[in-house]
């Protein structure tokens, strides 16, 4: 069984004074310090990053990490758009499944705010299909189409979507590493400018800088020495068509659904056992679809469910979602997001989530999506 024994994340936000590899270095040294491991005790590294090759002509990042870490070990970069972090984690877990007594470092990072919005958006659009790019569709456009379809089909309004951002900003206000720590109201969301109808600025996650790292191990002696550890009881990566037009359903991300079904089957637990989850809320509609596709809510009920705010911290003992603030408020440094989600669940299951600590959580789930659903990674952790 692979155990997650440590997590560190940098601040998320507009970190103009730090480069991509400054952030990577901070995350690596932070997690090594926390686990009292030396660089020589790391057997392999998995790096989640999407844009360095596109925005700053920096590929071959594994070699750069070898330079930072001063090691000569296997290091791999995983790229699956916004699921790059989740994919790196999934690969690390797979690596441990086939190698005994190993310690692996998983780091996800992205540097996005040093470039003009046009450059960054163009880079992000590389994660959509060629036809979609040629048609001028951006990710707000793609998720806007999904939102439009969902609202129309199930008779909801933009106000239903707004509750996702209200909840996640409240959670962000409790997380000192979050990009945004300001609470917002439904009125704030509804009066923010449109990005791609019906999605508005405050329905959308930001462009952020940040890096997050975790240490995974199957070394029993090391696990015994660690103060905090959680078990990785499932990590499933599923892919689907990159083009939205090739999907059978517009109100479902099939990759999420399939990954969740397999993950729960392997974890041998039910949805009700999950008390805390980080789900991929790149746009407000994405969290509602995720909650349905993960099997927490019935299809079509999410618009109503979210307005009840039952998944908000402090509102009862049922499942609490996106305590980190989600992508919306914690920020979305693409490659780091999947690792931060898993790290947040680690904090929750080990009682380190401070002001946003959910009580009595034994199981937690992280859900990371690439593109408009071309990749989904579902990870389940157990305390």
């Amino acid at each position: 069984m692979s155990k997650l024994i440590g997590y560190y994340t940098t601040q998320f936000g507009e970190l103009w004074e730090k480069s991509l590899f400054d952030l990577v270095e901070e995350a690596i040294s932070g997690v090594l310090k926390q686990t009292s491991l030396s660089n020589k005790q790391i057997d392999a590294v998995f790096f989640g990053n999407m844009l360095a090759g596109v925005l700053e002509n920096n590929l071959h990042s594994p070699s750069k990490i070898a330079e930072i870490l001063k090691v000569n070990i296997p290091i791999y970069r995983a790229e699956a758009a916004c699921a790059s972090g989740g994919a790196a984690f999934n690969l690390a877990k797979t690596y441990l499944d086939s190698n005994s007594n190993k310690n692996v470092l998983v780091v996800g990072a992205e540097k996005m705010t040093d470039y003009s919005p046009e450059e960054t958006i163009t880079g992000l659009s590389a994660a959509s299909s060629g036809e979609e790019q040629e048609a001028g569709l951006t990710f707000p456009g793609l998720y806007g189409m999904m939102a439009n379809y969902y609202l129309e089909k199930y008779h909801y309004t933009e106000e239903n979507l707004a509750y996702v951002s209200v909840k996640n900003h409240f959670h962000g206000s409790l997380n000192s590493k979050a990009h945004f720590r300001k609470k917002i109201t439904v009125k704030d969301v509804l009066s923010s400018p449109y990005v791609a109808y019906p999605l508005k600025v405050l329905d959308s996650s930001p462009i952020s800088d940040g890096a997050s790292a975790v240490i995974l191990t199957n070394n029993r002696d090391l696990i015994k020495k660690q103060k905090n550890s959680v078990s990785v009881i499932a990590s499933e990566l599923v892919t689907d068509t990159i083009s939205l037009k090739e999907r059978k359903k517009m109100d479902e991300i099939l990759a999420t659904k399939n990954a969740a079904d397999i993950a729960f089957e392997k974890a041998k637990i039910s949805r009700k056992d999950i008390k805390v989850a980080e789900v991929h809320d790149c746009f407000s509609i994405a969290e509602i679809l995720a909650m349905e596709d993960l099997g927490f809510w019935e299809k079509g009920t999410g618009g109503n469910k979210i307005t009840e705010l039952s998944t908000m911290f402090g509102n009862g003992d049922s499942l609490i979602v996106n305590t980190s603030g989600g992508l919306k408020a914690a920020g979305h440094p693409v490659g780091a997001t999947g690792i931060k989600q898993i790290g947040e669940i680690f904090l929750q299951l080990t009682g380190q989530a401070e002001k946003r600590q959910v009580k009595n959580a034994k199981y937690g789930l992280a859900h990371n999506v690439g593109g408009s659903g071309g990749t989904a990674v579902v990870t389940i952790l157990s305390s």
Binding site: E14, W16, E17, T113, S116, P117, P193
Partner: protein
Amino acid sequence: MIGVISYGFYIPKYRIKTEVIANVWGKNPEDVKKSLMIEEKAVSGIDEDSLTMAFESAFSALSTVAVDRNKIKVVLFGSETHPYAVNPASTILAEFLGIEKNYLAYDTEFACKAATGALISAQALIKSGYSDYALITGSDKGMGKTHDVLEYTAASGSVSLLLGKDDLILEILDFESFSSDTPDFWRREGIRYPSHGGRFTGKPSYFYHIKESARSLFKKTGLLPKDFSFAVFHMPNGKFPVQVAKSLGFLPAQIKDSLTVNYLGNSYTASALMGLMAVLEKAKPDDLIFLCSYGSGAGSDSFALKVTKNILKKRKEFTKIIKDKKNIDYPTYLKFMEMI
């Protein structure tokens, strides 16, 4: 003591309202106005540029004093929209003003603080004995790309100051400057419109440099914000000067008269100096004025100025002049800015 013996300003007649631009791009005008705190901005005509406006302001500055123009041996022209990339505007300006040829002239460029940098150099040249008088001009036909946030703010205007040693209106008590390599706003050779780093133009750029230069000046002079009757800052929008003034400890009453950006926009090198023009309409003898420019790239110059009794006879009307205006529509704006 060295200081300002005369001043002149020029604001083109045309204005475009924020809501006119916002409506073209489908933006909520009230959101834009609330965000930038700009009602309208001054737009120069199709036959105007930074040089023609500089002439207007400089001519105004020279016309109200009996100074032998041949004794003006320093002419400095600060702008980020000089009409030529190579060919000084300062010599053309001096020629049209009738200043004889035995003078030092150069154009200065440091984004929006090119003119206050020139002011520091000019006062030093007087102090050194090189010249009895020096003319400095800040003048811009500010360009912003269509659909860029700069389109709401980039404005036109010019301010000229004649510096000397006698019969001063404003004494330059002291100054401080603070600079660093901070690329928040730039325009490369041959590129028509400036680029900028969005929010990067704020905290690490405008706010950081202004606070540092201001605090240096306070430390050097022993003066405190409460000692000044007026504070004037560079005004890239209506919010930044208010925020930076507050963070330095100035009260709203100390800056309200300087906020020309609310109704004239940001005339780049003339922006802070235009605020000074508005303040001089109200300043009384012995008032202290804090003037602080900001130039992207980046740097800030802070000045402690003291108003003399000569203001009473050399004061110029400002409020009345700016009321002489004509609002234009968006196509006319594009035409005047030679965008179509």
